[in-house]
Symmetry: C2
Subunit: 362 residues, 2 copies
């Protein structure tokens, strides 16, 4: 089926661009002493995770037990839940899943470590646990240095846990627009990570792996030598927010592969068109979607099921019924609105991949 015949709104994956992005990332880490563990929270799709592994990733990370369950059921053998998991139900599911695949999780509180140990004991497994360190994002994580060491010790003495290393992701740095700002933020994070790892290892506790980094910063963590694993997620898709970042000319250049396919459902005025993709078709938390390759036509306002386009006087105005590609403002929550990727190569539908972990919130 040609893309032109696909009904809208639909989530489109351009396979040439997607495969190019996979290759760019493989090239970036090839021969370097670092493993790639892409973040599956962006795609929520075992088909994509398996392709990342085939392209050299050691496994993936994700944020929710429900995502890990779907990925393992889909054949992924090595999953890091790069997040704290709290609550008895979830801990029991996490421990049960560790019987089926290599599984690791993060912690930032002794109370949570005790819960992980008890759940692992009940399930008869030994769980890898990373200490999440706050390297500047001020979200989860213990502070670097002594608090991280204390929690590493707590984990190391648990019979059913293994201290696996440090989770050190700087979420706040990913969308700092200039390379210089990101370089500064990641430089500070690297300093905290190195000091914390040294402190832990001098205390006689092995710190096997430091894991972190995202699409906006990973060349900096890679160059630092302080990270053993990189966790970029959005690089396979890109989005309007990441496309606003300044990228260093020496960094891999990822192409836009993810789109929302939409129809012009109303042309009420010369300077206005309305498309059928609104808030339920493209997340606006990081700004409006952008109209792909239609200069002078801007998506200016989203309501539940409508997107209003502003059309400049000299722009080529889309007709009623025309179909357009939108670049989502933020890829991750946009993907989570859909059940399927419509995978397209040079204008022809080649496959449908399920967003199997869509809505996997728990």
């Amino acid at each position: 089926m040609p893309l032109a015949d696909v009904d809208t709104p639909a989530l489109i994956l351009d396979l040439d661009a997607f495969e190019g992005n996979l290759a760019h990332m493989s090239d970036a880490v090839r021969g370097r002493p670092v493993r790639l563990r892409p973040h599956a929270k962006s795609h929520k799709c075992a088909e994509i995770a398996l392709r990342q592994v085939a392209a050299g990733a050691v496994g993936v990370c994700c944020q929710k037990v429900g995502e890990a369950e779907v990925l393992v059921a889909g054949g992924v053998e090595d999953v890091l839940i790069a997040n704290e998991i709290v609550g008895e139900d979830k801990l029991a599911r996490l421990a049960a899943l560790a019987r089926k695949a290599k599984l690791a999780v993060c912690a930032d509180a002794a109370e949570n470590v005790a819960g992980l140990d008890a759940a692992a004991a009940r399930a008869g497994v030994r769980l890898d646990v990373f200490v999440e360190v706050n390297v500047g994002a001020d979200r989860c994580g213990v502070e670097p240095g002594a608090p991280a060491l204390a929690l590493a010790r707590t984990i190391a003495v648990c019979e059913h846990l293994r201290f696996a290393g440090l989770q050190a992701y700087h979420g706040g740095a990913q969308h700092l627009r200039s390379v210089a700002e990101r370089r500064g933020a990641i430089g500070r994070a690297v300093g905290m990570v190195q000091a914390t790892r040294t402190l832990i290892e001098r205390s006689g506790i092995a710190c096997a792996t430091v894991t972190g980094a995202g699409t906006g910063s990973f060349p900096l963590e890679l160059a630092s030598g302080a990270y053993d694993e990189l966790q970029p997620g959005s690089y396979i898709f890109m989005d309007a927010d990441y496309n606003r970042n300044e990228f260093d000319a020496t960094w891999p250049r990822f192409e836009q592969s993810l789109f929302v396919w939409t129809t012009v459902m109303s042309r009420p005025a010369p300077a206005r068109a309305v498309v059928d993709a609104g808030l339920k078709a493209s997340s606006v938390d990081s700004g409006m979607p952008q109209v792909w390759k239609l200069p002078g036509v801007d998506y200016v306002n989203a309501s539940d099921e409508h997107g209003v386009l502003s059309i400049a006087a000299d722009a080529r105005a889309p007709d009623l019924g025309a179909k357009l590609l939108l670049v989502p403002g933020h890829c991750d929550p946009t993907v989570n609105l859909y059940d399927w990727y419509v995978c397209v190569r040079r204008g022809v539908v080649e496959a449908l991949w399920p967003v199997s972990a869509r809505g996997a919130l728990r």
Copy 2:
């Protein structure tokens, strides 16, 4: 099961508040020459639509053919798609559905009317079509007056269509904060509606129904005498954005019935807690969610799977593992993130209702 045992994040419907809201709306229209046609885009749930009908509504409206299909399959017999439907596939589905239920749709372009007529002819049905009039929202809709008359004429001469009246919803007025501003905006809309209806009827075309209004404005449309049907949606749930509106003391007072149930997954600092409900659990397009009845604790930042709470020095700080209720910033796109309503009465789960039209974008 007590609410306390429900795992998070989950979408909670407080049944007492929900039923109270249904009753308040029934009371508001009882004995008035106006019909209630609540908007099902807010809830996407046949169980809720049937309760609205049982409480006196003539039917519901929705925005997508896919929503209408789910509602009709769930037993709803009268559905207005309060929106333009463009594209052959959708028109064929719309016409096919009109064989199973009383169905109506809107149009704002002659080209679209021709498509509707052709689809209705092929399906062997006669479709009710409303002319959508732009009464100030500057989204879809023909301009009031002569353009609306011209389109009504176009519909009236189509063999397989019936001109049903005017769709006149002022979306832009719903969240004007002061009653005075909303009164002004709806007053102007009412003037346009009355003039347009008069023009059409003087041309010899019956204009049976004027339909429109939302939760933020419906008492004004009701009082105007210009509307035959009201389309409020959010009143059954309410949300943080509607709760910021000023309401006239004489208007029905709707209670918050919709919540996101979330767990404190990290307590990294005295002034900071992190909950497990982020952008994929509560839409932030109309502002952050609010923490329910926990003074001094504010949801200040959302990322994909995390919500950061700021805790004032004198506030009762929630413990790690505590579960909290959040009031969504915007109810409609939040509901669309979930597969189920967990319906709770006085702290006990009473039912699970499916969000059957979740993701029904087409």
